[in-house]
């Protein structure tokens, strides 16, 4: 029997209501199509503060936090940035809760040399209001900006060489963090590729340290990067994480949230369309009609306006590896849906948000990251689609970039991609030079732009999807040249896309729809393996 989150459409099924950017659209899919829905949200922890206190007093693989503290010591707290969760969660953010308790404990133990660093890696600097959203008013007012600030991966004076891995990979980290007596990392494990060694080794490092694993070769060999066990990306980062843990005293606090992305009035967006009640059907129709008519800024404003009501489902403290195993299991409990049989065609709606466009437009490069990157990688065991299969995505692919956040993306997209789409060639020919572009570096350091190397990493992020998929077809594109630049085809309708996917042959297709958002992962039984009825992660 299939998992309740797996729905097979029949001839009476209602159209599926899915995102195509910041529009909601109705899509008719053929009978037999399998739809993978997000699992219902796990129950949130009733007393999050008590759970956090319990976790830091009962850590895994480490002394309790209080046992590490002594008066006069130097402590740095690193915090995940606003790229997780998506969209940003309703206040108080989980990180605010953790920080409040940790800072109180530090004060109680006479530790007053404390600084909080937003662990950006090479993401854009957060604006003051975004930091306030994460840490809360009280902490923001007490610490910002002198003792609460963004990590600057290009501030050479404040980057310190920490060591090498046994593969000769260099690790340079934020100097303040590297020279502290204790580094506390406060994480929010939104998806299974977050957290673990990635927190410190990526969040606090510089561009040179990133290049060892943020490259096409690593991504090609990751199967998938949402499954740490099969992810070369995770393995490579772990090598550097171990270097950090050998050199520094690190106390990790990882948290997980459920998938309650939409508030109660909109949570029907995660449900099987055939199970909606009358009110939900009406609201669904109204949203489809409204988002079709409203101008783009108004649509974006609507979705920016409502933070997600995520709830804490787990908090684990101690050493990174011990903690991460537990956080990952909690992620899998929420996201994994067991499934057997790879599809010929994977249909993925592309929503309006990704980790890299909070408060900005989802530009074409980020559409690619979602399609061939994150959504393709939402599996464990084997890809949801067969090797050489077709990915159909729904998005307008509008040629629009945020001028502030994504300035380097424009040059990458319109100047480099027309030269080549080969990720290896892009890396060897252009990446290092582009990463030293003084104008873009200034926008990264002085403004709120992503690092000039970031668009390269975004292209590499789609590399295992690109290598696996036979073709990508876009439904609903408002132009043809943007998809073409990414090597994609366009179709005027889903029917047309499916016809093309057949390649002119009279055959039936196995079609799977990944009904995102919210997040869902397929726990795919690898081809040839005995069929599993429960999968590994269902709770």
């Amino acid at each position: 029997m299939d998992h309740p989150s797996l729905v097979t459409l029949d001839s009476d099924s209602a159209p599926r209501v899915v995102f195509a950017g910041d529009r909601l659209v109705e899509v008719d899919l053929p009978p037999g199509t399998r739809c993978i829905y997000p699992k219902p949200p796990l129950a949130g922890i009733k007393d999050p503060d008590a759970a956090i206190r319990y976790a830091i007093n009962h850590p895994h693989g480490s002394d309790p936090l209080h046992a590490k503290l002594r008066p006069g010591m130097r402590v740095t707290i690193a915090v995940d940035d606003i790229s997780v969760p998506l969209p940003p969660m309703r206040r108080p953010d989980v990180r605010e809760r953790v920080l409040t308790i940790v800072l109180q404990m530090l004060a109680d133990h006479g530790v007053d040399d404390v600084e909080i660093v937003i662990a950006l890696g090479i993401h854009r600097r957060l604006k003051a209001h975004e930091i306030r959203h994460i840490v809360g008013d009280k902490i923001f007012d007490a610490y910002y900006p002198e003792r609460l600030y963004n990590h600057d991966a290009e501030d050479k004076a404040n980057i310190k060489h920490v060591g090498h891995s046994d593969h000769g990979e260099v690790l340079n980290l934020n100097r303040r963090a590297a020279e502290s007596d204790l580094l506390i990392y406060v994480n929010l494990n939104f998806v299974a590729m977050n957290g673990g060694h990635k927190s410190v080794a990526v969040g606090l490092c510089d561009y040179e340290s990133l290049r060892h694993h943020h490259n096409p070769g690593t991504i090609r060999a990751s199967d998938s990067y949402m499954d740490p066990a099969g992810s070369k990306l995770a393995h490579d980062i772990s090598r550097l994480g171990k270097v950090a843990h050998k050199a520094l005293d690190i106390f990790t606090i990882e948290t997980t949230v459920n998938n309650r992305m939409f508030d109660k009035n909109l949570d029907f967006l995660m449900k099987n369309e055939d199970d909606l009640n009358g009110k939900e059907r009406l609201l669904s129709k109204a949203l489809v009609a409204a988002t079709a008519k409203l101008p783009q800024p108004a649509r974006q404003a609507i979705f920016d306006k409502f933070p997600a009501p995520y709830e804490l489902t787990g908090v684990f403290a101690g050493s990174a590896e011990a903690v991460h195993q537990k956080a990952i299991q909690r992620c899998f409990d929420q996201y994994l849906v067991p499934i057997s049989g790879q599809a010929d065609v994977l249909v993925t709606p592309i929503p309006f948000i990704s980790p890299y466009n909070v408060h900005a437009f989802l530009n074409p490069l980020l559409v690619q990251v979602l399609a061939q990157g994150y959504l393709f990688n939402m599996y464990r065991g084997a890809p949801l689609v067969k090797k050489g299969g077709t990915l159909i995505l729904l998005h307008p692919c509008t040629d629009k970039f945020d001028h502030e956040q994504h300035a380097p993306y424009v040059d990458f997209f319109h100047q480099l991609l027309p030269e080549t789409r080969d990720a290896m060639e892009l890396m060897h020919r252009y990446e290092r030079k582009f990463a030293s572009n003084p104008a873009h570096l200034q926008m990264f350091r002085n403004g709120h732009a992503y690092h000039p190397a970031h668009p390269f990493f975004m292209w590499y992020w789609g590399e295992n999807g690109r290598q696996h998929l036979g073709r990508v077809i876009v439904v609903g594109a408002d132009n043809e040249y943007i998809p073409k630049m990414m090597g994609w085809e366009t179709a005027v309708s889903m029917e047309d896309a499916l016809y093309r996917a057949k390649g002119g042959q009279a055959r039936s297709l196995d079609i799977t729809l990944l009904h995102v958002p919210a997040i869902v992962m397929g726990d795919m039984t690898p081809p040839g393996a005995p069929k599993s009825s429960s999968g590994g992660g269902a709770s």
């Binding site: 001028h403 300035a407 100047q415 030269e419 060897h428 020919r429 030293s436 350091r445």
Partner: protein, 246 residues
């Protein structure tokens, strides 16, 4: 106008199997006033005028300059070069020695306090990228030279006064560095130095420098005025503010 942004295909290093990503040597051309410092051409001139040998001389020179003020105001709106010529006519009669001595004072008293907090970092990043850094300024070379030394610029292209027997005539030596002429100067300079203009950068705050920005492959608007900000947005030029510290 189409954006000129062609990246040269680097050469394959047959020993390492990697592409040489450095490419040809390039330069970053910087406007100075309003871009790296908050001063404009008038500030140093006033400093010179009020620091003459005697108060009477200062008063006389200031008076003459005031008479020219309305013409300069009109010229500023219509033609940058004419404005420069009118402004620098105020230097007529000053000795070269005096200009040199006061040049250092102007730098210390006027320019240095007006240096934008993040200007140094931008120049440092340009040098770190392996580029030559060239200041292209309508201000006097004897002032800009000190800023160039402080920030590590490779070269200065700035205005120079015509001298006769050690005394300024009030005229400027050709070419006058202003407005569209900056574009031609940069083109000639790049050609003489062997830079590929498509690889070069230019930074300015002013719409009047659009010609200069347009001849390089990588233009950028720095603390842009309204019209330049709009243009930068339209053409997706990088745009940022050096007035805030990093």
């Amino acid at each position: 106008m189409p954006r000129k942004f062609l990246l040269i295909s680097p050469q394959l290093d047959t020993r390492t199997g990697l592409y040489d990503s450095r490419g040809p040597v390039a330069a970053c051309y910087f406007d100075v006033d309003g871009t790296l410092v908050s001063t404009n051409l008038v500030h140093p001139t006033l400093y010179y005028l009020v620091n003459q040998g005697t108060p009477v001389q200062s008063a006389l020179r200031l008076g003459k300059a005031l008479i020219q003020a309305p013409r300069m105001a009109v010229a500023e709106l219509l033609d940058r070069r004419t404005f420069n010529e009118l402004l620098f006519s105020a230097y007529a009669g000053m000795s070269e020695d005096r200009l040199e001595v006061l040049g250092e004072d102007v730098f210390k008293e006027i320019m240095l306090p007006s240096l934008y907090p993040s200007a140094k970092a931008l120049v440092a990043q340009s040098l770190a990228a392996g580029h030559d850094v060239v200041f292209v300024s309508g201000a006097l070379e004897c002032v800009i030279r000190h800023l160039a030394k402080l920030l590590g610029a490779t070269e200065v292209i700035a205005n120079r006064l015509e001298m006769k027997e050690g005394i300024a005539t009030g005229k400027m030596l050709r070419p006058v560095v202003a407005g569209p002429e900056k574009a031609r100067i940069i083109r000639d300079h790049a050609r003489a130095k062997g830079y590929d203009l498509d690889e070069c950068f230019a930074f300015s705050d002013s719409y009047s420098d659009v010609p200069m920005l347009s001849v390089v492959g990588h233009p950028a608007a720095v603390n842009p005025d309204r019209r330049l900000a709009l243009m930068a947005r339209a053409y997706s030029w990088p745009s940022f503010d050096l007035r805030q510290p990093i």
